[in-house]
């Protein structure tokens, strides 16, 4: 790699947009080229100054209530389909980045009947799990709405992990996955089913991932199929005696990648 090529790729590199092969070449070049190393240091510095909330704004208090009050009473489902997007805001123009979610229709009915056929015991376990997933989604939404994502804001797991000491009678597994594109941003205390649990907060581009963690009850097999509630994906898994559950509006594929990292 030569210097012009390095400078061409510098911003995408530090924005995490390069593939691994190119990123390694960038590293190798800046190791041996002082001028390019200085360029990348300057950009890193600028990016650091722009982070840590320097650009953040919070919505003024009361705006959410005013918005709720201003919306028409009728549910949007009863409004005729949006006009072609002449005002630039319609949905027609909008191309979803990810596969559109399957609509609940005949398939939903079939799976509901199937669930009935599977017997009451399965339903019962499912209900409990659904209730938990519902509670987790509510926690997730609340954390975004109330601007209360974390009690401890840090990308450093050595800060986040000790923070839970004394607040919980267990020590949750905390890891950072910035390198993989899922930076740890903080942690907070939550209550699920009336019990205190650890909530770890990660980001993936635009999306927040809340990971809830608590000690596994004995006999919990740890398996549960991923769910989608109110547009949020919920994934459960177990490791090292803990039960973990992730909630996010991130697409299912990337959330799956994240969970695989957490399982390692």
């Amino acid at each position: 790699m030569d210097c012009p090529r390095f400078l061409e790729l510098l911003h995408p590199w530090l924005d995490g947009e390069l593939d691994l092969v190119n990123a390694l070449e960038m590293e190798r070049h800046s190791d041996g080229c002082g001028a390019c190393l200085a360029e990348s240091a300057a950009l890193r510095d600028l990016k650091a100054r722009l982070s840590h909330g320097a650009l953040a704004f919070a919505a003024p208090p009361g705006l959410a209530a005013r918005i709720r009050a201003s919306l028409p009473v009728a549910s949007p489902a009863s409004v005729p389909p949006a006009l072609p997007a002449s005002d630039g805001s319609g949905s027609k123009r909008w191309r979803p980045w990810h596969r559109p979610r399957a609509r609940l229709g005949a398939a939903g009915l079939v799976s509901a009947l199937l669930a009935l056929a599977l017997g009451f015991w399965a339903m019962n376990a499912g209900f409990r799990r659904d209730a938990l997933a519902g509670e987790m989604v509510a926690c997730h939404v609340r954390s975004l709405q109330a601007d209360h994502l974390f009690d401890v804001a840090s990308t450093d797991r050595h800060t986040v992990k000790p923070w839970f000491t004394g607040k919980l009678d267990f020590s949750p597994p905390v890891a950072d996955f910035s390198e993989e594109g899922f930076p740890l941003v903080g942690g907070r205390l939550e209550y699920l089913g009336g019990h205190p649990v650890a909530a770890l907060v990660y980001r993936r581009h635009l999306h927040v991932i809340n990971v809830f963690c608590w000690p596994a009850a004995s006999g919990d097999n740890g398996r549960a199929t991923p769910k989608t509630l109110q547009g949020y994906h919920v994934v459960f898994w177990s490791r090292d005696g803990f039960r973990l559950g992730a909630v996010s509006d991130l697409n299912a594929e990337e959330l799956g990648q994240f969970v695989e990292l957490m399982k390692r």
Binding site: R49, L55, P76, P81, W94, P96, H205
Partner: protein, 173 residues
């Protein structure tokens, strides 16, 4: 899976209020104008929510916010084409506008915010989406409705300008 209704709108679209307000605030550069644009955008979002077929609610909302802001900026530009941007009126540090923001921000942040405010709107937009919201290039290109190549060149130029103006105002930087 969900049929659009008040509940799904509430849980999928309303949680992104801070992001919506922040983007509007950076685009129109005043708290009260940003509030109006966000309220307008939420109304538009509500009306077209029935046509929203999944995908990414936050990015979908930000695209609507952005359009609402641009429409408003254009109408204003026609109104007073010759009036330059007046920091006394529109500056973010106007105490009557938001006294808390003024107190809470340290000097470096203030310098940064001023420098970003001074960028042309097309540059502010990509920079804020990238550095505050952490959007990927692809997400920015969807929200701002521009090709990825344009995202990259605007981001590059925004940072070059910012770097220069911060070096000018902040000495060492």
């Amino acid at each position: 899976m969900d049929k659009p209704n008040a509940g799904t709108f509430e849980s999928q679209v309303l949680p992104h209020l801070d992001a919506a307000f922040g983007l509007a605030r950076w685009l129109v550069r005043s708290d009260t104008d940003a509030e109006d644009r966000v309220q307008d955008a939420y109304l538009r979002a509500w009306k077209s929510f029935a046509g929203f077929r999944g995908g990414d609610a936050k990015a979908w909302l930000l695209a609507i916010v952005r359009n609402a802001c641009y429409t408003w900026l254009k109408s204003r530009r026609l109104e007073n084409l010759s009036t330059p941007f007046d920091e006394e009126i529109h500056g973010p540090w106007d105490a009557s506008d938001n006294p808390h923001a003024r107190l809470a921000l340290d000097r470096d942040r203030q310098a940064i915010r001023r420098a970003v405010e001074a960028l042309p709107v097309e540059f502010r937009e990509v920079l804020v989406l990238r550095e505050w919201q952490g959007c990927s290039y692809r997400e920015i290109s969807e929200i701002a409705d521009i090709p990825i190549g344009t995202v990259m060149s605007r981001l590059l130029r925004a940072r070059e300008r910012l770097h220069k103006s911060l070096a000018r105002s902040g000495g060492e930087g």
